[in-house]
């Protein structure tokens, strides 16, 4: 078995050399496909992290119609909590809201002192339960809060996450389509390269059949050739992604906290990188298997 394996590997390497520029094109196409797929995957993973982290930070602001008396604050909070799905509540009085406004105005804080009266309403900051901290769950909570009699208006933090989630879905869809198109092109190129090699190898294949080689031994080199092309391509794709990551992250990371609320961008994990390599090897193997060429004997 070891001898035959050695024979298959040697013949596959010989075929790779014979494939020449077409073989190289196949490798580059698979690399391109995997780089696109990997890039979309990377971005999608980080978007997903941003969406997941949102669940810890979201705040819904419930503006009250009137500021309750100190003794009635707990009653109001209980009525709000009764809608369900709430992890934490924090009451913000009109005075505290004005103080927060002055802090945000900074050196312009004395503008607020010119106001004849405090126009800011009392409010309750609501943190949803982790279990419902999704755009859909938040929307439902906002709807329930709006029915509480004490409530004037509810402002939720879900709109931008809705947009982010939709963008992520669109992104994933586009990435899959582009990746699939490139993958098909890559498979077809590997198939073409392998078919060319089979044509060049037809004399050898004829001899192999005449002397009693099994079909497995005859076909194995083209499978190995395809896998080798896919493996090399996957490594190239991974390297390209690493380089793009190293170049882009220093420029992107300062913007992430204020845009999507993400502190840092992570790269593919070792397991994910292995999955990418596996996908490349599989693409190459498919291309090799699909090649048709047969010496008659």
């Amino acid at each position: 078995m070891g001898i035959l394996l050695s024979f298959v590997m040697n013949e596959a390497m010989r075929d790779l050399r014979r494939a020449g520029k077409i073989g190289l094109a196949a490798i580059l196409l698979i690399a391109l496909s995997l780089t696109a797929l990997g890039g979309f995957w990377l971005l999608s993973l980080n978007l997903g992290r941003a969406i997941d982290q949102w669940g810890d930070r979201v705040r819904i602001i419930v503006y009250l119609k009137d500021e309750p008396a100190a003794a009635k604050v707990d009653d109001v909070l209980q009525r709000i909590e009764a809608v369900g799905g709430i992890q934490r509540l924090r009451y913000v009085s009109k005075a505290e809201a004005l103080r927060a406004l002055k802090r945000s105005l900074g050196s312009q804080a004395d503008v607020a002192d010119q106001l004849p009266r405090n126009p800011l309403p009392a409010s309750v900051e609501v943190t949803p339960d982790a279990a419902i901290a999704t755009p859909e769950g938040t929307r439902a909570l906002v709807g329930r809060l709006a029915t509480v009699p004490d409530v004037e208006e509810v402002q939720g933090g879900s709109q931008w996450v809705d947009g982010l989630a939709q963008f992520r879905r669109l992104f994933q869809g586009v990435g899959l389509v582009i990746g699939a198109v490139l993958a098909v092109a890559a498979i077809l190129t590997v198939t073409t390269a392998t078919t060319l090699v089979l044509h060049l190898r037809r004399d050898e294949m004829e001899i192999m059949r005449l002397v009693g080689a099994t079909e497995h031994v005859i076909r194995a080199p083209r499978l190995v050739q395809g896998m080798a092309q896919g493996l090399v391509a996957a490594i190239i794709a991974l390297a390209a992604l690493e380089i793009a990551y190293a170049l882009a992250v220093p420029r992107l990371e300062p913007l992430l906290p204020v845009t999507i609320g993400l502190e840092r961008v992570t790269f593919l994990s070792p397991l994910q990188a292995l999955a990418l390599i596996g996908a490349g090897t599989l693409l190459g193997a498919l291309g090799g298997l699909l090649a048709r060429g047969r010496a008659t004997a």
Binding site: M1, I3, L4, S6, F7, D203, E204, E206, I207, M208, R209, L210, V211, G212, A213, T214, E215, V217, T296, A297
Partner: protein, 223 residues
């Protein structure tokens, strides 16, 4: 070693139907040297192709080296062919490999142990007198040398049966006699030989049992 019973081979259908072989029966025992003769188109190559299952007979039974060839499953054909060495009119050497590599290729493809490949390949080359040309490439060989290399490749796996299909067809008389001599040597070591040729002058030279085909029919079996 070889038994054919009422074997026919028909190609095509309707107006384009061609009977390449019609009701051919014969038996060749182990260790025999038999000449298969007939004009071009008589059915010699078709008969040989049936023996190594490059074709399936339209009718009849074929037994080769214990294999029921006519009923052989596709997956079993490699086993049959491992017991047969085949030499063609065209040497069919692999251009990108040396003479030694061409012969060793057979052993590598069949999974021969690495330590046995070189001695066996050189033994085969020695048997056909090509040891000195082991590192030459096919384009550097004469026709006679190329045919000897082809013979070495056919016998390197020590087959019980050697089929030669017009092995001297492309050679001049001197080279043809050389090849014939080598084939006889191979036969003398116990290999059964079926030697197909359209060259009538070789038949009396060989002084062997002769099967003659005409129009796909076996018209003579003598010797």
């Amino acid at each position: 070693m070889i038994r054919l019973q009422h074997v026919s081979m028909v190609f095509g259908a309707g107006p384009s139907r061609v009977a390449a072989l019609s009701d051919v029966s014969f038996h060749i025992g182990k260790g025999e040297f038999v000449v298969l003769t007939g004009a071009s188109g008589a059915g010699k190559t078709t008969l040989l192709r049936l023996l190594y299952r490059a074709e399936s007979p339209s009718e009849g039974d074929i037994d080769v080296a214990g294999f029921d060839v006519s009923a052989l499953r596709r997956s079993e054909i490699p086993r049959l062919r491992r017991s047969i060495g085949i030499v063609f009119q065209d040497a069919k050497l692999l251009a990108g490999r040396t003479v030694f590599e061409n012969v060793a290729f057979v052993l590598r493809v069949l999974g021969t142990a690495r330590r046995d490949i070189t001695p066996k390949a050189f033994a085969a080359l020695k048997a056909v007198g090509l040891s000195a040309r082991a590192q030459a490439y096919p384009h550097q060989l004469s026709q006679g040398e190329a045919q000897r290399a082809s013979l070495a490749r056919a016998i390197v796996k020590s087959p019980g049966l050697l089929l030669a299909d017009e092995a001297t067809g492309n050679l001049d008389e001197e080279m043809a006699n050389e090849i014939l001599g080598l084939v006889k040597d191979i036969w003398s070591r116990g290999t059964t030989v079926l030697f197909a040729t359209h060259q009538a002058r070789l038949v009396p030279q060989l002084k062997r049992r002769t099967l003659r085909l005409e129009g796909g029919r076996l018209v003579k079996d003598e010797g």
